[in-house]
């Protein structure tokens, strides 16, 4: 009933040539094949609807045309933007992208790298800041992959011995603090994510450092999930406790900030007027909310593209690319 997919041999037989010739005709081999046979093979292939078995090709060649992408959560706009950049870059290089999602679990991440290694992809791209703990097991897994000729690139997770594209989280947050102080704010709360995430920690510290230069320090710090719901919950909690004299809440990423804005409105308050909000990332939705969100713009899509270029470049030294961020002030932090 379900006949088999046509193989190279079927094509060769149909064209009346050997398997070797068929193979040479159907892909860019070094060897050339006469125009006559070439046509024969091409036509036979078309007639049978032949599609080369890429797995077999991979085992024969010992290499694949595949890039593996590991993200925490593909529905998160931050990661899906990076993913889009990576897909761009991969397609430009004629590669297919395979994707795996960790759900922010380090165990799962380790497991995934191990499985992916089995695919023998051309490159592995890790996106998202990982937990610090079992750094080691993951590093082993990756260096095994690397030793066998694999390429690795990392997004936004400096400190690993691989090509890395990142931003300066501390500096971005520091500059944001600067700008907000210049706008007249004095009393800040920080909404941070789990402390194990480098990104969250660096941004919180950078912001604090910026305040310190102005002789200020945060009135309060709340820890929450790195998600929109996390931001909502944290802000609700803060409001319940009475927000005291806090004038502005800095959330370490935009989705949390947007969650916080929603909590604000749920409580009958107006973001920007009653309490100012700032985020980090400049996801697309940042301009969709009202008031538009003050944030630090991160070139996510470009980071993805750059990461894959890094992975593909056959460089010896692990290169560290820091892409610039920029503070963008919007309606959620009016001048006081």
């Amino acid at each position: 009933m379900t006949e088999q997919a046509p193989t190279l041999l079927d094509v060769a037989r149909e064209a009346g040539v050997s398997a070797a010739t068929a193979s040479r005709a159907l892909n860019g081999s070094t060897r050339t094949v006469s125009a006559e046979k070439l046509n024969l093979v091409l036509q036979a292939a078309a007639r049978l609807g032949y599609a080369p078995n890429l797995s077999a090709q991979a085992t024969a060649r010992g290499s694949t045309k595949t890039v593996a992408l590991i993200v925490h959560d593909i529905a998160d706009p931050y990661f899906s933007s990076i993913a889009a950049g990576i897909v761009d870059g991969a397609e430009a290089a004629g590669l297919t992208v395979t994707m795996a999602v960790t759900g922010r679990s380090p165990d799962r991440e380790l497991e995934i790298v191990s499985i992916l290694r089995g695919h023998r992809p051309h490159a592995i791209v890790l996106a998202g800041s990982r937990i610090g703990d079992d750094q080691e097991a993951l590093a082993d897994e990756l260096s095994a992959y690397r030793a066998a000729g694999g390429r690795v690139a990392v997004v936004s997770q400096p400190g690993l011995p691989y090509g890395t594209v990142t931003i300066d989280n501390r500096r971005g947050a520091d500059e944001l603090a600067d700008a907000l102080v210049a706008h007249g704010y004095r009393r800040f709360a920080i909404l941070r994510g789990p402390d194990v995430l480098h990104t969250s920690r660096d941004r919180a510290e950078g912001f604090t450092a910026g305040l310190a230069r102005a002789g200020l320090e945060p009135v309060e710090t709340v820890e929450a999930e790195f998600t929109e719901d996390g931001g909502h919950a944290a802000m609700s909690g803060l409001l319940d406790r009475g927000r005291g004299e806090v004038e502005l809440v800095f959330a370490v990423n935009d989705v949390m900030a947007i969650g916080a804005m929603r909590a604000l409105r749920d409580a009958g308050l107006v973001p920007g007027r009653d309490l100012a909000i700032a985020g980090f990332d400049d996801i697309p939705a940042a301009v969709d909310v009202d008031p538009a969100l003050t944030t630090v713009a991160v070139p996510m899509r470009k980071m993805g593209r750059r990461a894959i270029e890094l992975a593909l470049a056959e460089t010896e030294e692990p290169e560290l690319v820091r892409l610039p961020t920029s503070v963008v002030l919007r309606g959620s932090t009016p001048r006081r």
Copy 2:
């Protein structure tokens, strides 16, 4: 320098057994292997950091543990939510997801299916409503894949002879129109996408039908790109021309609606108060904008999950699953 990755044979040698035994020990074979040898092999594998070559496995077995996903744009929250559901389902079934992005180009989609077919994935899931034209070439490609034992599932694109999960776009839009008329609105404009997209057409027609039952018809219809920028541009155009007596703009999806809201604000108007807006999809951002967006809720993530279940189920008849939608009225369409 770059030594090769350890192979099954290396493990077998290290453990002092034959390749066959090693193979049987390292994956769920029908055959059983003595506890003693099993341990030997497992330890050897761990010692060498062995990861089975999945390509070789695939050619030997003639099947892969892979699901291919085709979407239009992974950065679009609609698709990334569906993708998240698919990844969920795939991982539950122990499958890896490979992803390809069409950028909404039918040519590219055709090309992608052809490449993907070469990967011999366990299943192919198509997400997003495709253009009607070269339906045929695509259908050929897919049925070739199917004939060779592949599974296909389709999201939101009924009419193909494959397992399909979708929603009733006409009905959803119709019910939305109903609800809005009940809210006191009488003068509507429709912001539709390119007419070749089924989704866009069905939603526009459904909305029009709903109005017709109340003896109304849309004052105006504007066509634009299916993206946020498209919505922004269309709304700007509408405002420039003078929006006349339009009371409410229905955009055929949320990202367009959100773009339209932004255009409104850019023109100094207040969405909801000066002009009501409604969308379709209920993407996460719909509750983040202010006022929150009235829309038709589509269970995107669940659609993804369901799609992969459909693909994996070995059913004869192509099943058509219609997931229910629900109108959700929010602040962007206050009662008049």
